[in-house]
């Protein structure tokens, strides 16, 4: 069965640079969630989209922005990167917003030097 795809899997950036993370949800899933998991931390909700509109927002810095495109894939744009942004970024998709099932991608490991 198709799963959630995230690219790239690993990314190394310098401070103050910009990064773009991509998420391709499971086909026919119209809801996408982004989570950030710092080293030794639990995943923290960043932002979600439903039918290409932002549906909910968590602890996402103003330096970050995200959107969901017409094909339902989503991109997380991160600017002015800081050392503290180093983390594993997960994308999850769901067939609806009921909250009863989320399928997680393998994550993108971002390292900021």
């Amino acid at each position: 069965a198709a799963g959630v795809i995230q690219s790239p899997r690993h990314l190394i950036k310098e401070k103050r640079e910009t990064a773009t993370l991509k998420c391709y949800p499971i086909p026919r899933h119209d809801t996408v969630y982004w989570y950030q998991q710092g080293p030794g931390q639990d995943p923290q909700f960043l932002i979600s989209f439903y039918e290409k509109m932002q549906s909910d927002k968590g602890s996402i810095p103003d330096r970050f922005s995200a959107q969901q495109f017409s094909d339902y894939h989503s991109e997380l744009n991160m600017s002015s990167l800081e050392l503290g942004d180093s983390a594993l970024y997960f994308c999850a998709s769901s067939p609806d917003t009921s909250g009863d099932t989320q399928y997680f991608g393998p994550g993108t490991r971002l390292t900021v030097l």
Binding site: T31, Y33, Y35, Q41, D42, P43, Q44, F45, S48, Y50, S55, D56, G58, F90, A92, S94, D96, T97, S98, G99, D100, T101, Q102, Y103, F104, G105, P106, G107
Partner: protein, 118 residues
């Protein structure tokens, strides 16, 4: 607002011994409950979930969890663990009000690292 507390950050256990990973939650609304497992350098895999109905839910690999509403707990148990169960386990909740303002986001606990020794 919701919060999840996993009472043990690390649980060491010997192979074939029973194990319990504890999870308590706090929420002003009714919730769905989940356990996810994360193997080293991998993503989150859903282990089991409670949505409604029977308070005892089971996974295909021998884990079970029981929803206790009065104690706001959702502890994970396995009667006999294997080396391959070594991983980090996360308890999580979401708002069960379908289509409500939370739109299904998950709130995670801090994680419990289960280490199974031979």
């Amino acid at each position: 607002a919701q919060s999840v507390t996993q009472l043990d950050s690390q649980v060491p256990v010997f192979e074939e011994a029973p194990v319990e990973l504890r999870c308590n939650y706090s929420s002003s609304v009714s919730v769905y409950l989940f356990w996810y497992v994360q193997y080293p350098n991998q993503g989150l895999q859903l282990l089991l979930k409670y949505l409604s109905g029977s308070t005892l839910v089971e996974s295909i690999n021998g884990f079970e969890a029981e929803f206790n509403k009065s104690q706001t707990s959702f502890h994970l148990r396995k009667p006999s663990v294997h080396i391959s169960d070594t991983a980090e386990y996360f308890c999580a909740v979401s708002d069960s009000n379908a289509g409500g303002t939370s739109y299904g986001k998950l709130t995670f606990g801090q994680g419990t690292i289960l280490t199974v020794h031979p």
